[in-house]
Symmetry: C2
Subunit: 412 residues, 2 copies
DNA sequence: TGCATTTCATTATTTCAATGAACTAATGAT
DNA sequence: ATCATTAGTTCATTGAAATAATGAAATGCA
């Protein structure tokens, strides 16, 4: 990791150069269309330094020049943009119901995506299957000609910081699986950055990092699916995912909302997941694991008992959101996962409770922006891809590839 | 703030020098007795660079040389230590029951302390009172001859990041008070760094930063007093307090533990504070605000109803700890505040619950270190002082004062 | 005791990235 | 057309760290 704190404790001139290059790149990424002069002002660097830095980033395919900006009595500056056509980022998610994978451009645009249904099976079979699908994705028309920066994999369970072992994935039946290593054995041709992260954390990162416009100081992604998890991303200008000592940060499905309540599969009583989660709803509404929760529920949505069950679950979700508000106080919340498809009967009680409660303490009217993702199929996979970019951007000279003369011709 | 990210986005040679100086200083602070050679290895700097850096830090009174280290066949290195006799850090806390203040050395040793009883009153009167006490503290025998780096103030309420306004202090009856500015008007002579932070956050910072031995990656301080608050410190080697958008991070007293439960003073129902806090216990046990909770309870500790009440409250605290474990997963937890004095009848149920529950999810036996502070009178004030040091250490040349020849003589 | 060896620390000297000042380039205003 | 203004480049200079050589102080062994 280029950011592994202790390394950056001190630095030499090369470190400084790297720092400034990545600062320039990140600034243009966040504010497309900046000119060299804008960068110099913002970064407090001289025009000369910015000039050479930008030159290098252009040569390596990170940036491209755009139109001349409107001038107000002086030479107009040249707009700079991320070169969205040169690199590719690969992201994948191992989910309970299958494998999802995407190829993204630097701006987070999805070039190609694939959803492969696969019921829970062994890590070995899963890795092999995923590797095959990724091979096809990499060979696809929009991807093959790009330079691939690396692969990020999202998994439904906690990962301790700095590790590549999935500690536990209850919904897959896995425990202590070195999934990234397994996958690499089946995909030795894919070079570059290899990362693995928890699904909600990857999603959180992607939602913050690929945001257009102002990037918030922090973002909380709440993933409500078979289980409930969250991911918090913090830090400006270099956002970082919060993991905690054992990777348990964000295991909010196992916070207690009802002391002495029902037993959870984790062994504790009254966990949030016993009140709101895919598996509790299935149990409460008598829906088999093989069936799609949304489709099975569709014809019964108007039933009183269904309405009541969804309302209770929604309220529990609202309580969970309030607790996170008063624990982590994120700048923004994004709600995703398969449960968001259950619609207003589930979501409205959650939002109503959260909206009514969030400002009581301070007695103000500021609302934390909350966004609901209707279809979060590829959110985690795309987030994992975002993490690859965030990694590469810390050392653009090392991870970037020098443009060949022909490629340079094309992009200029 | 020297760390206010956006500024450090990019840097020049002066920035690099500053970075390396503070890295050296921080390394010696964490690992007393390092030699120049040790630093060079650890920081991946050359001996030459470390040599000049150390020289400058010696001249400014940050470091001092110690004994020669034992050699194993070669020239022995010279041990380096923080110069614990040159600078002073001032910390203060505005609490519900009075003002607390400390003067610390760089290692966090308390040089002088003062506890001034003062019932809640206006910000103006409080500021004036505090200023007078601080004047006396600054003139004290162990403090006056030192160079003062600045003042940190801890207050019982949320502060939005980057602000110096106390948004709300329910237990003082304050709202939107620019307390630091008020205080400065009464204490114009005190130069250097001025900081204000929430009480639990300051305490958390101090407990992590002034720790001897290995410094954990993160630390959660839970302050259980009249209200319940927490502070999370994260980051290695530069720890940072988590605040959230509005400074509400750590307002765990207002997380819901009992949906539909009793009304809290914040207006929501079933807040943790309705189950465990000084004010709930007072209400439940019929103890007046003027009386000291601990002393009033002492003769009744064996009563069944008291035991039962304390047990219920303790269990709620345990639940709260578990929820924080599954939300933030800190490397270490420190429990402080006036309620820790209530003893085993209160604490054991909390610890028992937390110990029994914390590992169920992962199915392992690793225990999160949890320390209880019996007397946390000066913890927040000392933590505020720690924050002053953390600030100054980012630019030792700027904040340090060049040793006068006479002073240099004394310290060498 | 003498001497090679090892490690610590300091001292020139070199390297390298950012700076600053001078310069060219391109536009709008007069 | 001229000028003021802003954008971007060129190049000598500056400054901080690397490199390499030297001195210093211990250990260990003949």
């Amino acid at each position: 990791m280029p950011n592994s704190a202790k390394q950056h404790n001190a630095g030499d001139l090369r470190f400084l150069k790297r720092l400034n290059r990545s600062a320039i790149l990140e600034m243009v990424r966040r504010t497309p269309g900046m000119t060299r002069a804008d960068i110099a002002t913002e970064a407090r660097l001289t025009k000369a330094t910015v000039g050479t830095g930008v030159q290098s980033l252009l040569e390596r395919g990170w940036l491209e020049e755009g139109e001349l900006k409107k001038s107000s009595g002086g030479r107009p500056g040249r707009a700079l943009y991320l070169n969205d056509g040169y690199y590719a980022l690969i992201g994948a998610e191992v989910g309970v119901h299958g494998l999802r994978m995407v190829a993204c451009s630097l701006n987070g645009h999805i070039l190609d995506q694939h959803h492969e249904h696969l019921p829970p099976t062994t890590p070995e079979v899963t890795a092999q299957h995923l590797a095959e699908c990724l091979q096809r994705l990499l060979a696809g028309p929009d991807v093959a000609e790009r330079h691939c920066l690396g692969l990020g994999v999202a998994v439904p369970g906690p990962i301790a910081p700095g590790q590549t072992v999935l500690r536990l994935a209850p919904n897959l039946g896995w425990r202590d699986v070195p999934f990234l290593d397994l996958l690499r054995q089946h995909l030795p041709t894919l070079e570059g950055i290899w990362l693995m992260d928890n699904e909600a954390k990857a999603a959180a990162f992607g939602e913050l990092y690929f945001r257009t416009g102002e990037i918030p100081d922090s973002l909380l992604y709440v993933s409500a699916g078979t289980g409930i998890g969250s991911g918090l991303v913090e830090g400006n200008p270099w956002p970082v995912v919060t993991r905690g000592l054992q990777g348990l940060a964000g295991e909010i499905g196992h916070t207690i909302l009802q002391p002495g309540g029902l037993y959870c599969h984790c062994g504790n009583r009254g966990c949030a997941e016993t009140l709101v989660s895919g598996w509790t709803l299935r149990a409460a509404l008598g829906i088999a694991e093989e069936d799609d929760l949304y489709e099975a529920l569709q014809p019964r949505l108007q039933d009183d008992d269904v309405q009541h069950t969804l309302k209770r679950a929604g309220q529990a979700l609202g309580t969970l959101l309030l607790n996170l508000h008063h624990t982590q106080n994120p700048s923004e919340i994004v709600l995703g996962g398969s449960l968001t498809r259950l619609g207003p009967a589930f979501l409205e009680p959650a939002l109503d409770y959260f909206d009514a409660s969030q400002n009581r303490l301070l007695g103000i009217s500021q609302r934390i922006p909350l966004r609901i993702i209707d279809d979060s199929t590829f959110v985690a996979a795309r987030g994992a891809a975002a993490q690859v970019l965030a990694h590469a951007i810390h050392d653009p000279d090392a991870f970037g590839t020098k443009l060949s003369p022909s490629a340079a011709e094309v992009s200029s």
